[in-house]
Symmetry: C2
Subunit: 432 residues, 2 copies
Amino acid sequence: MPTTDALYSLDATTLALRLARRELTAEALVRDGLARIADREPQVRAFAYLDAEGALAAARALDAGPIRGPLHGLPLGMKDVFDTADMPTAYGSPIHAGHRPTCDAAIVALCREAGAVLVGKTVTTEFATYHPGPTCHPHAPDRTPGGSSSGSAAAVADGMLPLATGTQTAGSIIRPAAFCGVVGFKPTHGRVSRSGLKMLSETLDTVGGFGRSVPDAALLASVLTGDAGLRVSSEAPHAGGVRVGLFAGPDAARMDADMQALWERVCARLSRLGTQPGDLAVPAWFEPLARLQTDVMQAEMARSLSHERLRHAELFSPRLAGMIEAGLSLDAADHVRHLQQVHDARHAARELFAHHDLLIAPSTIGEAVLQGEGTGDPLFCRAWTVLGLPCLHLPLGVGRHGLSIGLQLIGPALADQAVLQAGAWLHDRLRD
Amino acid sequence: MPTTDALYSLDATTLALRLARRELTAEALVRDGLARIADREPQVRAFAYLDAEGALAAARALDAGPIRGPLHGLPLGMKDVFDTADMPTAYGSPIHAGHRPTCDAAIVALCREAGAVLVGKTVTTEFATYHPGPTCHPHAPDRTPGGSSSGSAAAVADGMLPLATGTQTAGSIIRPAAFCGVVGFKPTHGRVSRSGLKMLSETLDTVGGFGRSVPDAALLASVLTGDAGLRVSSEAPHAGGVRVGLFAGPDAARMDADMQALWERVCARLSRLGTQPGDLAVPAWFEPLARLQTDVMQAEMARSLSHERLRHAELFSPRLAGMIEAGLSLDAADHVRHLQQVHDARHAARELFAHHDLLIAPSTIGEAVLQGEGTGDPLFCRAWTVLGLPCLHLPLGVGRHGLSIGLQLIGPALADQAVLQAGAWLHDRLRD
């Protein structure tokens, strides 16, 4: 058994096993995490709200009772777009500062039921859009951790928490996972309840999470979806037979030199692994999807944030105000046409998997950008969010500044299990 | 201009025109509605909460200012599953009795922006499922108004309100509209924001509403969706060229004698209207959809109501507790298979419209059932909710007890405008 000092560097799946065997107490683990948070939070600023006393009380209650479920005793960070009955929930906006919901969001309740210890609410950008919160990149304070799930990704990357939740409407799980160098998983659209989530876009908002390994992200996803079949053992079954399509996409040329080099290295290695990689041509219907993502998101968020727009518009950031303005000015007939394009594209997406089980694609343009440049460009995530496909970010290398870069593994709709299984095996074989 | 006494019998579109021309004040209209409510509410019990003072204040403010929008001055009932910042919101459950949300749901804000006067919250069944609220059928107190949007349909049918909102997860808009004899419209799934709705089922929950005519329901739908193109003038354009498929469906034999007779009469009349009606065979993929609706709803609601299940399960009705139990016991792999079936069926649904612009189908088995039999069987609605297609209930005749019966007009996904346009024209020509 490791010393308490080192606990924060261990995987959630390793910790869960020790907790379940009572080799480790939830209280000891929470204390370890709180010490790490006390040390690092002044720099990283990952938390919108920290509930140290509540977390310790919950941990002690878990230690005194039976094993509750697969997350028994594991500290968890909850993105501050999910309602919590015992912690304030501000959705990253001054409009809701100090707001106290009366109910837990569905996933908050489900994680508690599974034995998770909610340590706090993690920083989100303003309503999970683009105006950044205070979080810094844990390994490069002048850089962004990515958004919108900024605090969740940074806290997991920094060892403050083994697991944290996120949401993605453009690229808000995959991009911060990529920038911070952790594993991020966006399940198939619609598999996780959004009850109690501050909804931005009906069509796009997808709930997922972060861990430091594929089995960790899979463990959290199994609780979020209620599908125990998503769990992956740390000894992932051999996935050498999986056929991986190489999909650099319509914006391949936008990858920077670091990402280009990583892409070539990984493609070469996939060949040697016998995964029958093959380059996929970009179908014509795929090309407009990134633009479509922006249009659908703006039109839907302009309506979902109507209460705020009508009563507190002066508290929107200029960028959010501009997006809402753009959404409101979109012609209704165009919006209907866009929704039809989403329906059509989700169906057409099946053809991407005609000859491949999974696809691999870039996650970002490059490393985490400087703070002044916002939370980074979600360019390489937008189309996959429109398609609603399961996406798993794998940190696979480093860029010129020593920061993490990686790729995403993508499966057909509802093939979340296949993505996680193959992802665990591939991650060990593709990273530097 | 009619006397104030008769206002409650007028269409919303007629009233909206008089309000916009300042021939009628919002205050006079609200006072008229409140008088009707005072008279009838002790019997009908359509309201979970009535805000007479708030409604009068809002009406006076509207009268003193510019025309706000297409619902300017129109009294509106809001189903008590939508959060309201100024009225309690209990979702039809004792668990949330007296709950005071801090935000308006998106559609509440949008209706206010359009000038609607929120008169109160209308009764919903328990979390919009099957345990009935206190509402009685306005024309037969021993019978159900249908559920789950019981209060909305009853209040509109009884002249208490010209317009009210609803949601449908199984048959909760079309069935109460049918039982109460009003027009109900369920737009394409995903066209109306569910932000601030107490969500039951991601895959199925759909927001819509009730009026006393197709133009009225279309007027409300135009505000809910933000699509002014949905509005239909009371002189609906000629739709004689529309090709209407007759789809009695896999449960055609379940229609009672009243509904069979109505079905035959309407089909014969459609022939004479030149709408080229043709019987549609039931595709094999359609047959399991009603059962699929139950499975998906139960699996998803068991998760979306997690907060309530974990903290207040003793306050669930036995039927709701049973549904949640069934949902939790469903195998996760089966649920994934069900979601795949939904995806596939939504795509396959296009073939139903290969030779027809619209379909006509039964709305219910027959007239409103007795109170002891629950809120009636949503059998004829389940598949259409799974498919997410726009459905418009048209009251077209009466059954053996003198209560309304009718049929639903159904369009392809996103063809809401076509359904409402043709529906307005057909309604005038198909009803007795």
